[in-house]
């Protein structure tokens, strides 16, 4: 029997959502400030409207939530808040996008806002090269908020009961410190330090090497930093990273993409100069898969003849595999050119996208820890079958210390991995049904579900509405790694038919 949520439950959820909207309103100050500084007055008006729209329910929730603050937020509340957050924030975030008239229909703006907040990077924007800078900055800010975890942002500023459930519902398994709040603050510290260094290096590179004007160089730097470190993939210009025509710029972005795809646990271990990190299952897994997929892609490109010169092949191949495996979605080749990557190159890029980065990072996809554990569980089963009866197969693995791979853990890991495969196939089937070639439909579906953002052209203005809705769903479910979304469906069911 389902229990209908009480009014107190709803008040608690509304209260937390209100606080998250307060974070959105605060984040809107960044593009608002940029719009004012650059004289984009119409855009400033759009941001004022968005900030006001977020601030009123935030204040109202504070008003209505009075008296419920001492109530305990349980696990399910936290999950429901997170799942709703990732629908409400993009909905509010569409306002400046829609008012800019650079999107064909409202659903396209929601698609882009969802793509931003889930750090996917697929986009339906039109005439991006004439988009107001402040609106462009807002697209990238959405990626930064989403990559960091918008609920994490709220947790940093507002201590809340139920913090652990909300933290984990955003797709983070590990706690670096015993307190979630301390962990959230550490994550912000890492991000801010990378931000200061990354934006400085990119700005200086932009001025001295690329020859950009200082303000424009800073504008490019802050945008691509947010998109790289949070493995988002939006870019300020329509030709993505190919716009910069600079191997050095690509190199800096590659470092930021890798940093973004690393788990914050690994960041913490590196900061503390812990040894033996290469023995960690997740590190070994991602290095192995990256090596295999890079080789596969480069061999595939060599065979296909898309590239006739080795330096170009290596540079493009390396950057694209890195972009795919970290879930960033930056591109140094055009969509048309990427769609010509067939055979082994196609397999390499698609599998790299599907696998994703490390757990508790800003990357999406199945994630390396799950891949490593799945392989270990299967290898252990085979070894058990081959060894004499009674022989003991060690069920331990290294991940910041020695841990046991319990049957329950193995089942959970495999279940989530299978759910991802199902999600990939769902979008591919819908795309195929609409007449797209199967390989392109699969590529785009994996890109959306694993929050990557590389495109071979399926994602385009005027795409079928149902396919667009499915891809929005894939981005949402894929980023939240299923559990929070299932909890929301359960909550809605109990609201409808509970007693």
């Amino acid at each position: 029997m389902l229990l209908r949520p009480s009014p107190t439950d709803l008040r608690l959820i509304a209260h937390d959502l209100g606080r998250i909207l307060a974070v959105v309103a605060a984040a809107g100050l960044l593009p608002l400030g940029w719009a004012i500084a650059r004289g984009e007055w119409a855009a400033a008006g759009w941001f004022l409207l968005m900030i006001g729209t977020a601030a009123v329910p935030a204040a109202a929730a504070e008003f209505l939530g009075w008296g419920s603050r001492r109530q305990r937020v349980d696990w399910s509340h936290g999950l429901v808040v997170v799942a709703l957050t990732w629908l409400v924030v993009p909905a509010v975030g569409t306002l400046p996008l829609w008012l800019s008239r650079h999107w064909g229909r409202w659903l396209d703006t929601f698609f882009d806002a969802m793509s931003g907040i889930t750090t996917t990077g697929l986009s339906l924007v039109q005439d991006l090269d004439h988009l107001p800078e402040s609106v462009n900055l807002w697209r990238h800010t959405l990626q930064f908020l989403g990559g960091q975890g918008i609920v994490l942002a709220a947790l940093t500023f507002f201590s809340a009961s139920g913090a652990l459930s909300m933290y984990q519902a955003e797709g983070r398994e590990e706690r670096i410190f015993p307190s979630v709040i301390s962990t959230a603050r550490f994550i912000w510290l890492v991000s801010v330090i990378h931000g200061v260094v990354g934006v400085t290096v990119l700005t200086v590179d932009g001025i001295l090497v690329q020859g950009f004007q200082p303000v424009r160089s800073f504008f490019h730097a802050i945008n691509v930093f947010m998109a790289a470190f949070d493995t988002g993939g939006f870019t300020p210009q329509s030709t993505s990273i190919a716009y910069y025509h600079s191997a050095l710029y690509e190199g800096v972005l590659a470092v930021l993409m890798v940093a973004g795809a690393m788990s914050f646990g690994l960041h913490h271990a590196l900061w503390n100069r812990r040894r033996g990190l290469l023995q960690n299952l997740e590190v070994r897994t991602i290095l192995t898969t990256f090596g295999i997929l890079l080789t596969t892609t480069i061999v595939g490109l060599g065979i296909s003849g898309v590239f006739t010169r080795a330096p170009a092949l290596t540079r493009r191949g390396l950057f694209q595999v890195l972009s795919a495996h970290t879930g960033t979605g930056f591109s140094t080749v055009s969509t048309t050119e990427l769609s010509r990557w067939s055979g082994l190159a196609f397999v390499g890029i698609t599998v790299a996208m599907a696998l994703g980065g490390m757990s508790s990072s800003t990357a999406g996809g199945v994630k390396s820890l799950r891949i490593g554990l799945t392989v270990k569980a299967m290898a252990d089963s085979i070894r058990e079958a081959l060894l004499p009866e009674g022989a003991v197969v060690p069920d331990t693995f290294r991940q910041y210390g020695t841990q046991r791979l319990t049957p329950r853990m193995a089942q959970s890991v495999m279940a989530v991995s299978l759910l991802y495969v199902g999600l990939y196939l769902l979008g591919a089937a819908v795309g195929y049904a609409y007449g797209y070639p199967l390989d392109q439909a699969l590529f785009e579906s994996v890109s959306a579900s694993a929050a990557v953002g590389l495109s071979v052209g399926v994602t385009a203005p005027g795409m079928p509405v149902l396919l667009e809705l499915v891809m929005i769903l894939q981005m949402w479910i894929g980023r939240l790694e299923f559990v929070a979304v299932f909890a929301l469906f359960g909550f809605l069911a109990s609201l409808a038919v509970g007693e």
Partner: protein, 182 residues
């Protein structure tokens, strides 16, 4: 007279084969679809200079777009008509004239419209695999012109009203939440 005509004819015969191959007019989409067919060829492109002038020593990198927005960008009243379509240009500084051209295209400017002649390079080995057009000649068709940046308007005024409302509600919430006296 007859000798003069003969010499003229001979001169034409000698000059014609030595004249440079005529630049092929193409668009960016065609280059994107068939890059190998144009690699190393002299081409002509028309479009809008957009983004930034990247001044790198004795050359300038800039993007040229030849999409539906070159004449009428969305901030200037154009309607959404798909994505942008652009390619990088590498322009020698001796034919680079930003004062005459005006700023490159952005939300604030429709960039200069130009016709360029140059050699298309696809994954050029000498340029770390870059794809671009090495420009040899550039003709300004229409200099940059400013686009309207608008005003705060109804959205801005509504936003300010909502912020005032939010402040009042928040103050009321704080007032309600204050600890009881005594």
């Amino acid at each position: 007279m007859r000798t003069a005509v003969a010499f003229s004819f001979l001169a034409v015969l000698l000059v014609v084969p030595a004249a440079p191959a005529k630049a092929q007019p193409v668009d960016v989409s065609e280059l994107d679809q068939n890059p190998l067919a144009y690699d190393g060829q002299i081409i002509t492109l028309e479009g809008e200079l957009i983004g930034d002038y990247g001044e790198r020593g004795d050359e300038v990198w800039v993007q040229l777009n030849d999409d539906p927005y070159t004449e009428n960008p969305i901030p200037g009243g154009g309607v959404p008509a798909g994505g942008n379509q652009g390619i990088g240009l590498r322009i020698p500084v001796d034919i680079y004239d930003p004062d005459l051209w005006g700023p490159p295209g952005s939300a604030r400017y429709r960039g200069p419209l130009v016709r360029v002649v140059g050699r298309f390079r696809y994954h050029a080995a000498e340029a770390s695999g870059e794809t671009f057009v090495q420009v040899t000649d550039i003709e300004l068709l229409d200099p940059a012109r400013p686009l309207p940046t608008g005003e705060l308007g109804t959205p801005g005024r509504t936003g300010i009203a909502l912020l005032v409302l939010a402040a009042i509600i928040y103050a009321a919430a704080r007032y309600r939440a204050r600890p009881p006296r005594g």
